[in-house]
């Protein structure tokens, strides 16, 4: 018994819950370099190395690593087009980068020692990095909306077109626009917290399960669950950002053909004025 439990048997045993954010390993004035930063660097180096190795000797008939990479890129491309149509192909690099980075980071959080030793902490289990990604995505899709629709983009928040049908409808449209504006801000928050909560919660669950079951191998089914959740969350983050892009570039204006006789179409009725099928 002394060999198995040199410090005496205690249940539950001592286990180290992963910290909520990265711990600083280097501090220069107010700026700290945390272990999450360091692990993020490892992820970036890994992805860049795979990309460089796969494209170093390109062949028309791919094999090996190039084959796998092409399969991956083609799959992401097909997925983006199935979600947003050919117009959305423009956002494939951003979508793919987010997806691959988050996927590798999420899967790192399952690996033993990451989150346990001092210099390793999964990047997506630190909400600062998630928030940075959410802010970058937010600024990018707002910019894209203004680039495509010019100032017509702001019409979804400041919509006064309802006033021509009376003050009541106008007030409702303005209110709906304000709710839209607030939901834009909440998108950043929910993107951040969803990813952080899932990854950190998974890490804590793995540690607690391994601790409570005493034998670490018994927690293996939960590792499988976490691998699946990591994939789903990476897909969801990237997919939601892609959906925000697709929503941002779609116009809320009426179609030009309808605009010619807008006065007559004041009361929309699908039976009297059948829509053109090109929607």
């Amino acid at each position: 018994m002394d060999l198995l439990f040199p410090r005496g048997f205690t249940y539950p045993p001592e286990f180290h819950i992963p910290t909520l954010t990265g711990e600083p390993i280097l501090q220069v004035g107010p700026v700290s370099y945390t272990n999450a930063h360091f692990t993020m660097l490892l992820v970036i180096v890994l992805l860049a190395a795979v990309a460089a190795l796969a494209t170093r000797t390109m062949r028309a008939v791919p094999s090996g690593l190039q084959n796998v990479t092409e399969l991956l890129v083609q799959g992401l491309d097909d997925f983006v087009i199935s979600i947003g149509g050919p117009d959305a192909r423009r956002y494939l690099p951003f979508f793919g980068t987010l997806f691959l980075f988050i996927l590798v980071s999420n899967w790192l959080s399952v690996v033993p020692l990451i989150g346990q030793v001092g210099i390793l902490h999964s990047p997506t289990a630190d909400y600062h990095i998630n928030f940075a990604m959410a802010v970058v995505a937010w600024v990018a899709y707002q910019t894209e909306g203004f680039r495509v629709l010019r100032f017509g983009y702001a019409k979804r928040w400041l919509n006064f077109s309802g006033f021509k049908d009376g003050p009541f409808l106008g007030a409702i449209f303005v209110l709906v626009g304000l709710i839209e504006l607030f939901s834009e801000l909440f998108r950043m928050l929910t993107l951040t917290l969803r990813l952080w909560g899932n990854v950190l919660g998974g890490e804590i669950m793995l540690v607690v399960m391994a601790g409570l079951l005493l034998v670490p191998g018994l927690a293996l089914p939960f590792v499988g669950l976490e691998v699946f959740i990591g994939l789903v969350q990476a897909l969801v983050f990237a997919l939601l950002v892609l959906m925000y892009f697709v929503l941002a570039i779609e116009s809320h204006d009426e179609q030009p053909e309808e605009g010619a006789h807008r006065e007559a179409d004041r009361v929309p009725s699908s039976e009297q004025h059948p829509q053109a099928s090109a929607a």
Binding site: L20, S82, I83, T190, L193, R194, W196, G197, N198, L200, G201, V232, Q233, L235, V236, L239, L240, M243
Partner: protein, 74 residues
């Protein structure tokens, strides 16, 4: 702060109820939809995962609240 642990447990427990029911209904309905129209499996699955993630986000909010309370214990 002696009730922080209790508060964290209650917050997470009740907060996860709603998303749990929601994801259950979502999965049941999309399974039905796939059964009725197996050709649309891809689109239904994508929408299902998206909806499940949105519903789960609410549960995660309560989990984050629980973590914030849990750090007050002690």
């Amino acid at each position: 702060m002696e009730f922080a642990g209790l508060a964290a447990g209650i917050a997470v427990g009740f907060g996860v109820l709603g998303p749990g029911i929601g994801i259950g209904i979502l999965t049941a309905k999309s399974s039905e939809a796939i059964g009725r129209n197996p050709d649309a499996t891809g689109a239904i699955r994508t929408n299902m995962i998206l909806g499940a993630a949105l519903a789960e986000g609410l549960g995660i909010l309560s989990f984050v609240l629980g973590i914030l309370l849990w750090t007050r214990i002690g």
